[in-house]
Amino acid sequence: MSATTDLSTTYAKSGIAKDVFILRQLVTKDFKLKYRRSVLGVVWSVLNPLLMMVVMSIVFSYLFGSNIENFPLYLIVGNITFSLMSDSTNAALWSIIDAAPLLKKVKVDRFVFPVQKVLFALVNFAFSLIAVALVMLWFHVMPTWHLVWLPVCLVLLMLFCIGIGLAIGSLAVFFRDIIHLWGVVILAWTYLTPIFWDFSLLTSNPAVPSWIITLVKVNPMYNYITFMRDIFLWQQSPSMTTLAACVLWAVVMLAVGFVIFRKTEHKFILYV
């Protein structure tokens, strides 16, 4: 027993310190559970985007991308960025419902659960960056100083995903329909985002109505992916428009998610 222990070190000093420690434990748990039983373990997280890239390169290079330099690199950067969003939001969707046993047992800040899922997706994303490095090596694309933009892009994308996660994670508690709906949203979003096709194909085709072009342009994922391709592939800083769109979407989505979460969080325990 520890009557002698200084109380200030027993308990976390602030709510934030406590939440940070909880988040570290939860993300570590996700990581261990995902990789514990698999032989190749984390190697899969590197291999997976590479295999996807190979398949997509074979299928699409004859269709859409023949005029893009280093098309496989174009594909893999777009694909892992989009996956980061879809993986994290798909997991955040369930996060609060799945945390029900915990919410009923202990006092805890509820926002940690959606955030946990987004952070875990980021950890997996880090492994797919190894795959990107391998592809760059293969195509002799030298990394440049523009990669210092990477943390900026990731922080913005994280905030965007946390915003979505807070919103859909909360709403899913009350309307399970959201769970079905989100799959459709992600699918539509995949096609509306130039992951495996080239945006200039749209603009150069006079048959495409202008509202579709506008829609793709304001599409947040188009902007985050353009940001990533700028720094990895085209080796340039993002344009002001791209950067502004990324910041704006991050702020707006986070605000929306925060408001929805705040309005609903007190009732979670009555519905989970």
């Binding site: 027993m1 520890s2 000093k13 434990q25 748990k29 261990k32 559970l33 202990v106 309307f175 519905y271």
Partner: protein, 253 residues
Amino acid sequence: MAINQTAAPEYAIEVNDVSMVFNMASEQLNSLKEYFIKLARRELFFKEFRALDHVSFKVPKGEVMGLVGTNGSGKSTMLKIIAGVLEPSEGSVVVRGNIAPLIELGAGFDLELTARENIYLNGSLLGYTKEFIDEHLDEIVEFAELRDFMDMPLKNYSSGMVARIAFAIATITEPDVLIVDETLSVGDVFFQEKCERRIQSFIDSGNVTVLFVSHSIEQVERLCTSAVWIERGKQRMIGPVKEVCEAYRNQFN
């Protein structure tokens, strides 16, 4: 865990006119069709059930108070509100100091993880720092008497072994406020006695305020100095433990 040092610090727990309304809606809303049917019937989302109805009491610092009542009368609900797990629908609760809630132990335990990993996970949820757990890991293991099983996944544990670990983590440090909900009935006879001894040592220290729920009236009379009787969510009686327990027993005659 916030330490509130404003007015009237002589009370460790203040329960002010607390009511708790639960959702008794027969099932969760799982589809849009259901949504419209229920919307028409006006029982969308919510069918009220009042588990606590205007309950108020105060526990002075260092006192050991019992909470009695028949099954489903709202005792666990009251404890969860005090522990901050539930938010009261009406009224407010003030707790001064750190709480060790022995209500539902083992929050966040994952059966796939080893005991060691679970200790850190559960400890973080209880608000401990990493350094504190590092320092007291041995003590926790010692108390649970499960040293040889530390790196075994929890799914291979017996339920009593899981309870031992959970109890050991929750009581490793002396809290300001201890909330106990029949957790003493976990584990084998020897461990039960060990748990009771630990709680007794908290009580004897005189610094710990204890709120205690048990169906064993003898145990309540032995451990507590005062008691509250809650029946079907309503507060029936509050006072010295002998009188309340006497009245509680007499309701059956």
